[in-house]
């Protein structure tokens, strides 16, 4: 069953068409990778899925429901004059926080931790979205059971990636690689069904990215996650992906299993280059 | 060592030394200081008490006044003098009342200073009186038909004066336009333009001297030809300096007419000359402001009350104060049941812009 599907998504910034009529689907439980040259529009796809940008056109559905839907507005609207006009100008957009609540969590390509908080608090804060208590009960500690549960879970999550030693350090004092790991844990803490990872292995050496790959596999099975991954480390992508989409200039260039992609000449020319890394 | 055993009584001086009314507050304080330099002791119950002045700066602000007042109380003053500017007096009135310390207002003319307050007295006339005097003067003497009135927003002094002026002026058959400017405003050209456009015959602006200096300058450069009228605050050398050599006509009401008591005039001038700081506080010269004379009188009224009470206890002084009668340099002083001075006379002066001095115009009472 498709957990996530993008239909004809276009994202335009002024003259730049970052994503061009892209469609893709992610099945429940899969690890799907999105690869492509720099500036191909991968991160933009994430931003559209998570509601940071409203797409210029297209539909995003999650878990069988339309989550984001947009059709051309303004000048473009005239093209659709006629009986269907109403239909085509309909906008249905969810805010990023609503989308997170629905069960999509992400990491950022440029690390965005809560820098003044400790590692532990970073994770704890991400659990806020699953709270059941209102302000009143939170202020007057009527919800102390829930709070204790949140703390326990956070500690467990940190332990699972091996950050428990650092949990009382300010997040900003971690080295680059550790910060990336923390971002993943924080995303997990929102209790997602779908996890979007934007270059999680950037800044890690091959050994470390292998460990990260194992970690990703581990959390997938433990939390029954579906994962959409952007990554330039081909070892990792080829090693753990069930399916790969390749985009170039915002358009879909190819899709398929790792093996198929590795053999695809167009992909090799545009992205992978000579044999060495493939 | 004889000095050490000497008993003292403290008089609080509650005056602004900064802010909008700093200049006036300083002139009033000068009068008190001069009186203190003349009479340093007071005999109470057969014993001489040295009078100590405790000063505090109320910063011309109604939000700073309560703590300043509280500060005076904490220093154990027996009676308080001040303040220049009605707003701060009103704001501090309840603090003094709660402390049970009597206060003698010197030039705070707004009725609310003493209304409903058992411990506040004052030796000056009130706004209803002053406003009416000016209205009558404008109608009778200047034959004005239409008056433009300007007050400062949130300022009890100018607001009150305009209010009573408007009442009296309208009652006397005149027409009024009134506006208020905001704190911190230095651009009066638009108000002057408005007065001109409305065809007013007089420009009534009983505002603080700070604003007045700007107003006078701009009135002259905008070519405002009608007379400018104001209350007791304008009886100050700030106005004289601002108007000197300018093309403006200024009329003010005042409590004291220089020359009414030549001995006092000469004494205070000599005293000021003895210390450059006094001259600076007086605005750079020895021109005598009514406030100074009033401050002088207030000090003696306080001493009278102490003598009469034969005590330095604030409560006793309070009881005695109501019955004090005193012949001061600014006239005879006695209090009515409200604690207000019984006065029925004001002087109107005009600024001589050539020589930079005041010229007596008329003595005015209420019809």
């Amino acid at each position: 069953m498709n957990l996530l599907s993008l239909n004809d998504v276009t994202m335009q910034f002024g003259g730049v068409v970052a994503v061009n009529n892209l469609s893709l689907t992610v099945k429940k439980g899969e690890i799907v990778s999105l690869i492509g040259p720099n500036g191909a529009g991968k991160s933009t796809v994430f931003n559209v899925i998570t509601g940071v940008y409203a797409p210029t056109n297209g539909v995003v559905s999650f878990d069988g429901e339309k989550m984001i839907e947009n059709y051309p507005k303004g000048k473009m609207k005239r093209l659709y004059a006629g009986e269907n006009r109403e239909k085509y100008t309909k906008i249905m957009l969810k805010r990023p926080d609503e989308i997170t609540k629905l069960g999509i969590a992400r990491t950022f390509q440029n690390i965005r931790l809560f820098r003044s908080m400790t590692v532990f608090e970073n994770v704890l804060t991400a659990m806020h979205v699953r709270r059941t208590s209102n302000v009143f009960s939170a202020v007057f500690r009527i919800n102390h059971k829930e709070e204790a549960g949140m703390r326990e879970k956070s500690a467990a999550l940190l332990k699972s990636i091996g950050l428990e030693q650092l949990q009382n350090m300010p997040a900003s004092s971690l080295s680059y690689g550790k910060q990336r790991q923390l971002e993943i844990v924080r995303a997990l803490a929102t209790g997602p069904k779908l996890l979007l990872l934007d270059e999680p292995a950037a800044g890690m050496n091959p050994q470390e990215s292998e460990e990260l790959a194992e970690f990703i596999l581990k959390i997938r099975s433990r939390y029954e996650l579906t994962i959409l991954l952007i990554e330039h480390h081909m070892d990792m992508v080829m090693g753990i992906s069930d399916k790969i989409y390749v985009v170039d200039f915002g358009k879909l260039l190819a899709s398929g299993t790792p093996e198929e992609i590795q053999q695809n000449q167009a992909v090799i020319d545009a992205y992978l280059g000579g044999a060495e890394d493939g | 060592s004889a000095e050490k055993t000497e008993k003292t009584v403290k008089i609080g001086v509650f005056e602004p030394a900064s802010g909008d009314n700093g200049a006036g507050g300083k002139q009033e304080t000068l009068g008190i200081l001069y009186a203190n330099s003349q009479t340093k002791t007071v005999e109470i119950d057969g014993e001489p008490y040295r009078v100590e002045l405790e000063t505090v700066d109320n910063e011309s602000a109604t939000d700073k006044a309560p703590t300043a007042a509280q500060n005076l109380l904490s220093r154990g003053v027996s009676v308080v003098l001040g303040s220049y500017g009605s707003g701060v007096s009103i704001a501090a009135a309840d603090i003094f009342a709660r402390g049970g310390v009597p206060a003698i207002g010197i030039s705070c003319t707004n009725p609310q200073v003493t209304a409903g307050n058992e411990t506040y007295f004052r030796i000056c006339f009130l706004d209803p009186f002053q406003g009416t005097v000016l209205a009558n003067f404008a109608r009778d003497y200047l034959k004005a038909e239409k008056a433009y009135c300007l007050s400062k927003l949130g300022d009890d002094y100018s607001g009150g004066l305009v209010n009573y002026f408007v009442d009296a002026f309208q009652k006397a058959g005149g027409e009024v336009v009134s506006e208020a400017f905001q704190e911190g405003n230095s651009d009066f050209t638009s108000y002057i333009t408005k007065a001109k456009n409305e065809g007013a015959d007089i420009f009534y602006a009983p505002v603080s001297t700070e604003a007045a200096a700007l107003l006078v300058d701009q009135a002259s450069s905008q070519g405002l030809t009608v007379p400018i009228l104001a209350g007791d605050t304008w009886d100050s050398n700030v106005i004289l300096n601002a108007s000197k050599g300018k093309n403006v006509q200024i009329y003010v009401t005042t409590f004291y007419q220089e020359g009414a008591n030549p001995e006092f005039d000469a004494g205070v001038k000599a005293w000021m000359q003895s210390d450059p700081r006094h001259i600076k506080n007086n605005g750079g010269d020895v021109g005598l402001a009514a406030m100074t004379a009033m401050g002088y009188d207030a000090y003696y009224v306080a001493l009278e009350a102490m003598k009469k009470a034969d005590s330095v206890n604030p409560g006793d002084i309070l009881i005695a104060l109501g019955t004090v009668e005193y012949e001061g340099v600014s006239g005879s002083i006695a209090f009515d049941e409200n604690g207000d001075a019984i006065r029925d006379r004001a002087y109107v002066k005009t600024a001589d812009t050539e020589s930079g001095s005041w010229k007596f115009v008329a003595e005015q009472t209420v019809r």
Partner: protein
Amino acid sequence: MSKKNNFILSGLLIAALLIGIYVLEQILPPTEMVFVVLQKGAIYALVAVSMNLLNGFTGLFSLGQAGFMLIGAYTYAIFTIPEVLKPSVYLYFGGGAIHFTLPVLAAIVLAGLAAAFFAYLIGLPVLRLKSDYLAIATLGFAEIIRAVFQWDALGPVTNGSNLLRKFQTYDSTLFPFVVSGACIAVIVLFIRSTYGRALCAIRDDETAAEAMGIHLARHKRLAFCISSFFAGISGALLAMFQMTVQASAFKAAMTYEILLIVVIGGIGSVTGSCLSAFLFVAANEWWLRFLDTEQYIGSFQIPLLRPGFRRVVFSVLVMLVVLFFQKGIMGRKEFSISRFAGRLKHISYKNKEVKP
């Protein structure tokens, strides 16, 4: 377990403080400056903490605090002036338009609610703005509110630009202490709750906070309203303290003063704000007053001392504190008894255990 101890310890400390004040009131004459400092300090502590909630914890740079205090102060004053005294207060407005009074506590709560209500209205357009733009917009709103309250047309309610007075006040220093203490306690509980953490997240990174499922607009508005609610209450207390209120006093300068307290105490530190509120008031109103009077040793006049010197010295002190305690007195830390005790223990046992 240690948390519980901490709780009990704090409780004891507060109780001791209140008893201390009570004893002080019994033995000292009520005109002592120490009471002024305690009262005004408590009131400023509350408004400083409420501002810290916005600026320090939520990262919303708001300069509207004086405006909300004004609303609180006026609301309280208007509804507690005894009926018989209204004619003398509303002298130019025929005794005013409101002809009933509320009990003191109800009026205080109403003061908070009124401020919060205005905050809600203002929040809708303004909270979308970022950093300094938000600051200037909130400052602007405070100025607009001040102008509205001075408007003659509202005179029957607000007494125009004239003073409001004769309303009910308190007579014990304990009153502002207890009220503002209780309010600060609620703010602290709020900050330490999961909502408080969400606000900190917004401060650190809005985009990331939103991606973690935090509804930005709602949380910001929540912080804004709560902060204003308590600013309103502190406004009511300030009115009681001053015994008069006038809109013209609630200027931007007042907001700056509060901001100064917040930053000197440490942005993001509640105890820092409280501490610096008392220090600020004490230095400004009490300790430095002597600098304003010319003083003599024998016949020698101590140089420099004359009116205005206090404020020069005070501003120099402020500058020194800012320059030498760049992160404020407390930084982002809180004073806590357990840590204090822990530090003592640390010295004796040298144990180095880190607890989550």
